[in-house]
């Protein structure tokens, strides 16, 4: 299925969020939002991504 990850189109064959994060190669620390809403880390394992979902993998910044 087709999803967007950080505004770039990706074709994935697995709908599990954990797998998608792994395949994308996201390096900790990061937070994940689906369709503009952050997903709690404790829900990663049970979260399924739907076709055309907007997935954002966001890195923290603390600089001032």
């Amino acid at each position: 299925m087709r999803i967007m990850i950080n505004n770039i189109e990706h074709l994935v064959d697995n709908s599990e969020l954990v797998e998608i994060i792994k395949q994308y190669g996201a390096k900790a620390p990061f937070a994940v939002a689906i369709n503009g809403e952050f997903v709690a880390k404790s829900n990663y394992a049970t979260t399924q991504v739907q076709p055309d979902d907007l997935v954002d993998i966001v890195s923290p910044i603390f600089g001032g």
Binding site: P29, I61, G63, G64
Partner: protein, 271 residues
Amino acid sequence: MPYLLNSPFKKASLNIMKELSNSQLMRYSRHIMLKDMDIDGQEKLWNSKVLIIGLGGLGCAVAQYLTASGIGELTLVDDDTVDITNLQRQVLHHEASIGLSKCLSAKASLRAINSEIRLNTIEQRLAGKHLADVITKHDIVIDCSDNLITRNELNLQCYQLKKTLVSGAAIRMEGQVSVYDMQATTPCYQCLSQHFGEQILTCVEAGVLSPVVGIVGNMQACEAIKVLAGIGQPLIGKLMLLDASDMSINTFSILKSPQCSVCGEIPFISE
């Protein structure tokens, strides 16, 4: 009623607001002409006390615009001195300020912009009860600090004292802004930062494009003014992400986390 007027609570009980003078009505007329702001909104700014933590790139931008905007009282907190690598982005500090405390350097620049507002400086790194005492005396806190430890402590104290926190951060060509009003149903900074662990990356290590801190700091100033004047819709419970490399802005909702160590169901209490 002399009894009431002598009461230490007279300000709160009578809700006395400092009024704007005629020359101030003129000075801030471009604000007052904004339908939502009007004289009421400007008067709220004039009666507001804002705490700015950090006078680096973000803090300079925030303080500059809040000073020009006519906030009644600003307190600047930073324990650092100006060095030559600051001048690229910290616009209140000048070449002649190298070696001076950032508080005094910024205060001199701000005083030249607006002689009417009250400017307090604290040349220390505040923590614990001292920080709580300072926060209590202000209406809103603006986090312009450069590290996660300070950010988490400010969040914890603002949550406990129910003070709105305007958070901003910048690095490379990226920025983040969010507002936490610390109410029962809204998230706090920790609800977001718990995702990120303990990694600390500052501008020293990664570099930052000068105008990016200006953009982010001005967004923080804008959010603070909106909260204080009661106009617009502040980014409460939202995280705005700026990527200046393509000038894209994305806004995300932060959900209140039941497991949050600060605002969750079993809150963590610090001494």
